[in-house]
């Protein structure tokens, strides 16, 4: 019973705040609603007994990505400004499209997921098992994707620095020319 109450609180929070995050008029409010959605999702992971995923969600998403978003908003906007929107026709069309998709997929889920599951009453998943599965090279173990992700992170750091730095190529070329002369 307690679990059902907590789940319904989290579900209502997710539904409400994710709709608010895409309809809010002020950009900083959208970011804060997104933060609430991410934290409620972390709560859902906790209800599924995935404690490691909960910790990753809170630290990476709610910690790292939200700081990136908020810093980007502060760098490029006046946070209280009211945002422009698409015209009315496009607004109605995309609302029809997304609610139609919601109804269709909801119907499919409610009709077809009759396959019942075995929800074992296991306690918390062992951290040692997660570590072994992440660092092993055998079947059902994930060392190669883990290393690929680390390379991808490195590439993204370099790429982000390359894209976001100020271009001073022209000046440096001029300086070099002056030096040569």
């Amino acid at each position: 019973m307690t679990q059902q109450i907590i789940f319904s609180i989290l579900a209502i929070a997710i539904a409400l705040f994710s709709v608010l995050a895409v309809t809010s008029k002020r950009i900083i409010r959208s970011a804060i609603y997104l933060l609430f959605v991410l934290l409620a999702t972390a709560g859902l992971f906790l209800m599924l007994n995935y404690h490691f995923l909960f910790a990753v969600q809170v630290t990476v998403y709610a910690g790292g990505i939200m700081v990136l978003f908020i810093m980007a908003i502060f760098l490029t906007h006046k946070p209280g400004k009211i945002m422009e929107r698409r015209t009315n026709l496009k607004l109605i069309l995309s609302m029809l499209l997304s609610s139609g998709g919601l109804v269709l997929c909801g119907y499919i889920i409610l009709r077809n997921v009759t396959r019942t599951y075995n929800y074992l009453k296991v306690s918390e998943m062992n951290m040692q098992d997660i570590g072994h599965a992440m660092m092993g090279t055998g079947k059902y173990q994930f060392l190669l994707p883990f290393e690929a992700i680390s390379l991808l992170l490195l590439t993204c750091i370099i790429g982000a620095i390359m894209i976001a730095r100020k271009e001073k190529n022209i000046e440096t070329n001029d300086n070099k020319d002056l030096d040569h002369q």
């Binding site: 019973m1 059902q4 789940f7 579900a11 994710s18 709709v19 995050a21 895409v22 950009i27 959208s30 970011a31 997104l34 959605v37 859902l44 992971f45 599924l48 995935y50 490691f52 995923l53 990753v56 990476v60 998403y61 990505i65 990136l68 978003f69 980007a72 908003i73 760098l75 490029t76 906007h77 945002m83 422009e84 698409r86 496009k90 607004l91 499209l97 998709g101 909801g106 889920i109 077809n112 997921v113 009759t114 396959r115 019942t116 599951y117 075995n118 929800y119 074992l120 009453k121 997660i130 599965a133 994930f142 992700i149 991808l152 992170l153 993204c156 982000a160 620095i161 894209i163 976001a164």
Partner: protein, 114 residues
């Protein structure tokens, strides 16, 4: 379709469908925002909503259908890492766009090179 297996434990307090419906609402909210927003950062926020809803699906399917395996857990972890990468690069691009055009509306960006 309509495959019916008897619930072996009877201990699941919340049905799998509830998780799927929650992530479905989040997904289509993200789709709606992706279509209606004009601002690059808000489009990025919508994409984060979509990715996050997929994470919920991975974790819930893994927990309910194959509770002794960890594939869904690791897929969710890798999706989180990849979305962190994607956000970092995209925000670098947004800042660069702001530097060139003075705001971050998508309608301004009509040519890749100026």
């Amino acid at each position: 379709m309509g495959e019916l297996i008897v619930n072996t434990s009877g201990g699941a307090p919340i049905p799998l469908t509830a998780y799927l419906i929650v992530s479905l609402i989040m997904f289509f909210a993200g789709i709606y925002g992706f279509f209606t927003r004009k601002n690059l950062i808000l489009i990025l926020i919508s994409i984060e909503l979509i990715l996050n809803s997929v994470d919920i699906n991975f974790a819930a399917f893994n927990r309910y259908l194959f509770p002794d395996r960890m594939e869904g857990l690791f897929y969710a972890l890798f999706v989180i890492a990849i979305s962190a990468c994607e956000t970092a690069v995209a925000i670098a691009i947004v800042i660069n766009v702001y530097r060139k055009f003075g705001n971050t509306e998508v309608d301004n960006i009509q040519q890749m090179k100026n």
